[in-house]
């Protein structure tokens, strides 16, 4: 007997919680390593100051961990590496506390390197490059000032002047001179303050040029860094006094380090904010898109992604084309063609400049892999690919539903467009026919009449005269019939004089009192023709079906629309009313009928004035 063994694979159980992944472990390791370095570097000082040690080690570990986390992201990689370097610099800075060997001479360089790496790192956040000219100029100045200051220090001084033991410290001091030393200190102090202020200015300059989302993320980091930079420049003052005690010097370092802890904290907060935005995007999308309509989906995406310029097109399978919210086919092969063809993913990773006018598109695919929609974003969202992905994933179902709606709209639009072409073709054909009747046949028959008149005048034979007169009468009857026919085809008055005069005559013919209020100016020919047909039909319904004895007709333009109102003292039956509504609807307009028994009826037609 055979046994069938079915193996059901069990998903592997995760050993670690999801937030403690590879990146997190790496960040923790880096933080611990840098903290250990700082502990070793500042050991002589930490023994007496455990609180300062805790703060500084925490600061070093925090900045290092943050740097490693940032370094895993594509664009923020450089910022991350710079932060890691900054944390190492800060740890090395504490070598000064040994008061021996090369530690004291390295320490000012390390301190300068710390601020330089932090500053440039923030300027590169979140794009990974120095985007603006001001950023690059500041970076060059910072390198010059921050590296020149410590150099001037050891060149012009003995180690004792700078709080160190001359005997144990490696300190070349090639040109020791108390006057020059003091001047160097003053100049450096002033330049540090200048550097901090200019940094704050550079940060402020950047803000207005960013997209809404980027600004939201950058603002707290910017504020924190400006604060840290300024306070560092100000607390640096005692260090710049000649003959400072080593303990005081290290105390300043501890304070600066504690303040600098703000930066990893705010970066962490920004990162969390981004993550929270991604996590809440699904819920917000679902809330904002119920019930689903094409417009709602677009409004929800705009709201969630904070991009009011976001546009959306749906794939209409029947048309084999993308259509907009109202179902009209859109031409997406313009400037954005290459981007659509390249699809979103490759574009997201690309490093195109995020300029204000720069836009990019992302093709959303349905479950079966077929095209579903194309979304166009402002350039600012390029940096938040994961947020965009989260929003599109959360909106997937809504997009599918909305696509069905858009496809229905597109079908309706196609039918309307076809009807519109039919109406236009018919109008053109009628006009041609009417013109032929007027200018051709009628003139020819009239000429024939005049010729018969001539014959009648010249002949002296009474029989010929009588017969000719008979011919002429017949001819006049034929002419009257021809005109009636031409009027059915297209009233000459409508073409020549417009809607008002044509309706005037039509009103005379139906035999009840009609008060007309029609603008004297001309309307587009197809609108005149459409309105004339609709109003004549309404008038005939009013007289024949509703038995009206008084009718008013009012036509007026209302913005991009034409409004025609027919008031009558009767009630139009349901059948003709539905018939009228259908005709108005086919012309992309709508019809309202107000009133009831005994109160009279108002038929209101609103047509787009194309």
């Amino acid at each position: 007997m055979e046994r069938v063994i079915s193996v059901i694979s069990v998903p592997a159980r995760r050993r670690t919680p999801p937030w403690f992944g590879r990146e997190a472990r790496r960040a923790l390791a880096a933080g611990l390593a840098v903290a250990a370095l700082a502990l070793g570097a500042g050991w002589p000082y930490w023994r007496g100051h455990p609180a300062a040690a805790a703060v500084t080690l925490g600061c070093c570990a925090g900045i290092a961990a943050q740097g490693v986390l940032l370094a895993t992201g594509g664009r923020t990689r450089r910022t991350g590496l710079l932060f890691l370097a900054a944390s190492v610099c800060w740890a090395v800075n504490w070598l000064a506390s040994w008061d021996a060997y090369a530690g004291p001479i390295l320490s000012p360089y390390a301190q300068a390197g710390f601020f330089l790496a932090l500053g440039v790192g923030v300027l590169m956040y979140p794009d990974g490059r120095l985007e603006y000219t001001a950023d690059r100029i500041w970076t060059v100045l910072a390198v010059l000032i921050l590296m020149g200051g410590p150099t001037a220090l050891w060149v012009t001084s003995e180690p004792e002047w700078a709080a160190f033991h001359g005997s144990t410290v490696w300190w070349p001091a090639p040109f020791p001179d108390a006057g020059a030393f003091e001047t160097a200190l003053r100049a450096s102090a002033a330049l540090y303050v200048f550097l901090a202020l200019s940094f704050a200015a550079v940060l402020l300059l950047r803000l207005p040029r960013m997209g809404r989302f980027k600004r939201l993320l950058t603002l707290p980091v910017t504020a924190a860094l400006a604060f840290v930079g300024l306070s560092a420049a100000l607390t640096q003052r005692p260090v710049m006094e000649p003959s400072i005690a080593l303990a005081d010097l290290l105390h300043v370092y501890a304070v600066q380090g504690a303040v600098a802890t703000l930066i990893p904290c705010t970066l962490l907060a920004s990162g969390l904010r981004l993550r929270i935005a991604e996590l809440t995007v699904a819920g917000r999308m679902l809330r904002l898109t119920a019930p689903v309509t094409v417009e709602r989906v677009r409004a929800a995406l705009r709201d969630v992604l904070r991009d009011p310029t976001l546009e959306l097109w749906f794939w209409a399978p029947a048309e084999r084309a993308y259509v907009d919210a109202s179902g009209r086919p859109a031409d997406l092969t313009g400037s954005g063609a290459a981007r659509v063809a390249g699809s979103g993913a490759s574009r997201l990773a690309g490093s195109g400049r995020a300029e204000p006018g720069d836009r990019w598109r992302r093709t959303v695919r349905a479950d079966d892999g077929g095209p579903l929609a194309v979304v166009e974003f402002g350039g600012a969202l390029r940096d938040h690919a994961s947020l965009v992905e989260a929003a599109l994933a959360a909106g997937g179902r809504a997009l599918e539903t909305a696509r069905l709606q858009a496809a229905v709209h597109a079908n309706l639009e196609r039918v309307r467009a076809a009807y519109g072409r039919l109406v236009r073709a018919e109008a053109a054909e009628r006009e041609r026919l009417a013109r032929d009747l007027h200018d051709g046949a009628q003139q020819r028959l009239l000429a024939l009449g005049a010729m018969l008149g001539t014959l009648e005048a010249v002949t002296t034979d009474p029989a010929v005269k009588r017969h000719t007169a008979g011919c002429r009468r017949e001819l006049m009857t034929a002419l009257a019939e021809l005109r009636a026919l031409a009027r059915e085809v297209r009233p000459a008055l409508l073409v020549q004089d417009g809607l008002g005069p044509a309706l005037e005559v039509a009103a005379e013919r139906i035999g009840v009192r009609v008060v007309l209020d029609v603008p004297t100016g001309r309307l587009p020919p197809d609108r005149e023709s459409a309105l004339y047909g609709l109003l004549c039909e309404t008038l005939s319904y009013a007289v024949e079906r509703a038995g009206a004895t008084r009718v008013t007709v009012c036509v007026r333009p209302s913005g991009p629309r034409l409004v025609a109102e027919v008031g009558l003292d009767g009630e139009i039956p349901v059948g003709p009313a539905a018939d009228l509504a259908g005709r108005v609807g086919a012309l992309r307009g709508h019809l309202e009928i107000d009133g009831g028994p005994g109160t009279g009826t108002t038929v209101r037609m609103v047509l787009p004035c194309e």
Binding site: Q443, L446, G453, D497, V512
Partner: protein, 224 residues
């Protein structure tokens, strides 16, 4: 009599010219547009200009415009406007203000030599002529509105002839009535319809004024 002719349809212009010449009316100029005729009769104006209502460029009211221009330049000239259509509200603009020596005739009736000749002669005398069909259409429209119910059938006939521009004597001849009876009818019509214009002595100027009053009443239809 000397006439000039403006008509854009070549075939009808030709036939009309032949007809006029045959019955002894001299055609001094014939043109396809209003502007052309206006220049050609500048030096030696005819007694009457026969002009088509619809001519290039717009085919709307060129005839009326040309009539105005001709009479402004030379008030003695008579103008007879022709139209193939009865339903042309602009043609009645011809009779605004103080009409003198103007006429409006349907092309169908032009083929009747006697109608044409009498219209030309009346216009030349400074009278106002309106095609009977046009008048009956206007009267008909009023009639639909039950506003002519107060008039007797005879009075309606008199009203129509008044609107066509006929004098009391002319109306009398047509209806086989004495001038005095016609005068009574006219007074009755004016009272019943509340038209404010006196019958007055029988002369072309007053007949024209009366035509205007009747036309105004007939045309006031749409807004009342």
């Amino acid at each position: 009599m000397r006439v000039a002719l403006a008509e854009d349809s070549g075939i009808f212009r030709q036939a009309l010219e032949t007809l006029l010449t045959t019955v002894g009316i001299e055609v001094v100029a014939s043109a396809a547009t209003g502007d052309e005729l206006f220049t050609r009769v500048a030096v030696d104006p005819p007694d009457v200009a026969i002009v088509d209502l619809h001519m290039p460029p717009t085919h709307t009211n060129e005839g009326v415009v040309l009539a105005r221009r001709l009479q402004v330049r030379d008030p003695r000239i008579g103008v007879l406007v022709l139209s193939a259509f009865n339903e042309t509200p602009q043609a009645l603009e011809l009779f605004r203000d103080r009409p003198r020596g103007v006429g409006y005739l349907l092309k169908d009736h032009v083929t009747d030599v006697e109608v044409l000749r009498s219209a030309l002669e009346r216009v030349r005398r400074g009278e106002v002529v309106i095609d009977p069909d046009v008048v009956s259409r206007l009267v008909e429209a009023r009639h639909h509105r039950r506003e002519l119910a107060r008039l007797s059938e005879r009075e309606r006939d008199v009203l129509g002839l008044m609107a066509e521009g006929h004098s009391n004597a002319g109306i009398g001849r047509r209806l086989h009535l004495s001038a005095r009876t016609v005068e009574d009818h006219v007074r009755a019509i004016f009272t019943k319809l509340r038209i404010t214009a006196s019958g007055g002595p029988d002369g072309p100027q007053d007949t024209n004024k009366r035509v205007l009053a009747v036309l105004t009443w007939l045309r006031a239809a749409e807004t009342r």
